[in-house]
Symmetry: D2
């Protein structure tokens, strides 16, 4: 997929410790870029309050295909899109690009279920958050 497939981008510099023994960013760390771009966007644009909000998003499933190595000190540009909004869950698509490159270094998806902070049972996504999520919504890949 190309950059045009994503609706929002965040710049995430790699860190020294992201590199593993084989000299590039460890596979695990890619997922930290995923939940960073997702939560950054939710906080800035969809009213997520991670400290006091009634409703929080918990990850129930994630996936990544690793297409090219990323190496510290490269900078990642993480692209975000919403592929599906259900009653209480959202599926995001994420694409990672090395700064200035047109082709993906990795692509994946991530599903949040929204729950009440105290009871941790799923609850319908609040109206203002649903409206915000729809601004990133695209046709999901088949």
């Amino acid at each position: 997929m190309a950059r045009a497939a994503y609706r929002y981008f965040q710049r995430i510099p790699t860190r020294w410790m992201d590199n593993d023994i084989y000299g590039h960013v460890n596979n695990v760390v890619y997922y930290s870029y995923f939940d960073t771009v997702i939560n950054s966007w939710l906080i800035a644009n969809a009213g997520l309050d991670i400290h006091q909000g009634e409703q929080i998003g918990l990850c129930v499933e994630s996936h990544c295909r690793f297409l090219a190595p990323i190496v510290f000190p490269e900078i990642v540009e993480a692209g975000l899109r919403v592929e599906k909004v259900s009653r209480s869950s959202v599926r995001y698509g994420v694409g990672l690009f090395i700064e200035g490159q047109a082709t993906l270094a990795a692509e994946g998806w991530f599903v949040h279920v929204f729950v009440g902070r105290a009871a941790r049972a799923s609850t319908p996504i609040a109206a203002h958050m649903r409206a915000a999520l729809h601004t990133l919504l695209v046709e999901a890949p088949k």
Copy 2:
């Protein structure tokens, strides 16, 4: 899936920093349990030499379903199985259990492509490693 579906288990204590702001282990960290059990087994049982070996395994795809929270200081028991061995790649299945519990906290899979350390091009899995991988091989879930 039950514990009997896995062929090898490793005990992985959680760490303080594994917990995130919502009070349980962050989704990203589950994948670090995956590559820890896989590489520990490969080093101990399949001749992987991460420092000098000619052939190394790179992750090209991974997936996780999160079924129940894990909370520091709980101890994880990571179950490992091999679901498919191809010419130069292996698909592992991983199940995470909280110590003493019968049901999964998470399950996922992880694909290694084996490459030459220098050229980073895929190479056929060495015979001794292939033989070792077959000892963990199960029927993959449909």
Copy 3:
């Protein structure tokens, strides 16, 4: 310092991603062994309730000297001692040993200030926790 200088030990297996590009455990990760052994001990032996307790410990200063490399998949044995207990703060000493070795791989110290969970202002250490901390107390090194 020798093992006898510490009062409590915890076994912490290294993880694949602990290794950095130079082939051994990254310096940052040593500090995660520090706060893991400290908080594990506090939870098990001193009544720390990280989810609901009124009083929590925040790190205000830490230090480490790195004496020998640790390499995945080695297992760390983290030794803990208390070097000073003040009104609302504690200084711990931590020593990291590779399993089965007599000499330190790293040694350091770590200061907790205990605060109220809500106000985040320092409060006198609760009596039961103070009593527990004294069981690990040693003469601090000059």
Copy 4:
């Protein structure tokens, strides 16, 4: 110390998983900001080649005082200075500021010993690197 005490700054956005159970960035993660700003500067300005270079820097001691919480999604501005250059070692000073704030969130120091990549024995700092390090040199705090 004020911003003027540092000679080089790098912008390091926090990540979701940096936050711990108490709602702010975990103490361990501060040290990852330290080695990120140090190695980024060494690569960009002092000729450090982390993949192939003959000489690499290993951390032998580090220290941090935590002065104020940092909370995701805040952005850290990491300030760097050199406090001492010896035959084969360097002591850096690092200050962490939250973007736009005048006062330190944390300050610390970090000592690199430079060694040959293969033998891992200390070697005199190469002339070009020594010259670069001197451009960041300040009077060390007493």
